[in-house]
Symmetry: C2
Subunit: 171 residues, 2 copies
């Protein structure tokens, strides 16, 4: 029997999985602009932190811990806050401990609790570095938007951040 004789009236052929349309030119240019800005900004900000001997992820840890009560956080919460895997964070905290910026401490009376604690040196380092870092963030990103663009960007991005945060950790 050749394929032309297959009766498709009763048993329609399996539907191909619904096609996702390719990105249009307008979508594509925005997607590429987003990727480029994300990557290049990370590169530029990292570069401008180098004189302070800090990686950009180190700076983030300093900021998050400095805003936490008692300047310390449970390692698992710190991993969540900085959107990192626990193993990756653990390596990073080891490096930062060697540099004297943080301390790992067990919490008495809390068996689950291994904490990362900002040291005095870590706190001072953040204070010193913050003005330079803000200058970089303004020069290469924030000051390049009009106030209307700033708000429009926030309104577009915030629900996407919520969506992606919701997916994280789900199988």
């Amino acid at each position: 029997m050749d394929t032309h004789t297959i009766d498709t009236a009763d048993t329609p052929p399996p539907q191909p999985e619904e096609q996702t349309p390719w990105l249009t030119a307008r979508e594509q240019r925005m997607w590429r602009a987003h990727l480029e800005v994300a990557k290049l900004l990370d590169y530029q900000l990292s570069r401008e932190l180098q004189p302070h001997n800090l990686a950009i992820n180190d700076y983030e840890i300093l900021v998050v811990l400095s805003e936490a009560p008692d300047r310390r956080m449970r390692m698992t919460d710190l991993a969540t806050a900085t959107l990192q895997s626990k193993s990756r964070l653990s390596h990073q905290i080891t490096r930062m401990e060697t540099a004297g910026l943080v301390l790992r401490q067990e919490c008495p009376g809390d068996r689950r609790g291994l904490y990362a604690h900002l040291t005095e040196h870590g706190w001072e380092t953040m204070q010193q570095v913050a003005p330079d870092h803000v200058r970089s963030v303004r020069a290469h990103f924030i000051d390049r938007f009009t106030p209307e663009q700033l708000d429009a960007m926030y309104e577009a991005l915030a629900p996407i951040a919520d969506h992606l945060r919701g997916l994280r950790g789900k199988p």
Copy 2:
């Protein structure tokens, strides 16, 4: 002489370096939304490429090479196109060579030229993976903007990408 007697009329004290104002609450929320989306999107897209045994940077290399004439590029140009350091790219290409996705080739008659060449397997892999990846990009990012937001984002981000591209490689 105590400090109050210093005559500041002739020699004004050195000006403190011009203060960069801190981010306002509106700037801060946008900055954090951008960082979160960049990081979480990278995480989610990477996760959805895992069943294909591809890292997100691998996928990018496949796309760039597939769009290049003869599906190959000089390593230095590939590093520029993918915004990576040459040493990092070199490691990545080694991994991808082991996976049979690309080949490194010397170009006869071009002493500078070490090329990365997309293999047939690399080409087929990209063809297979692309529809899934586009689906991910749409589901988690592109389809979450209105057409007006898409264009507004592009107009805001494109000049920043230009600015940052111009800085790259400069001391």
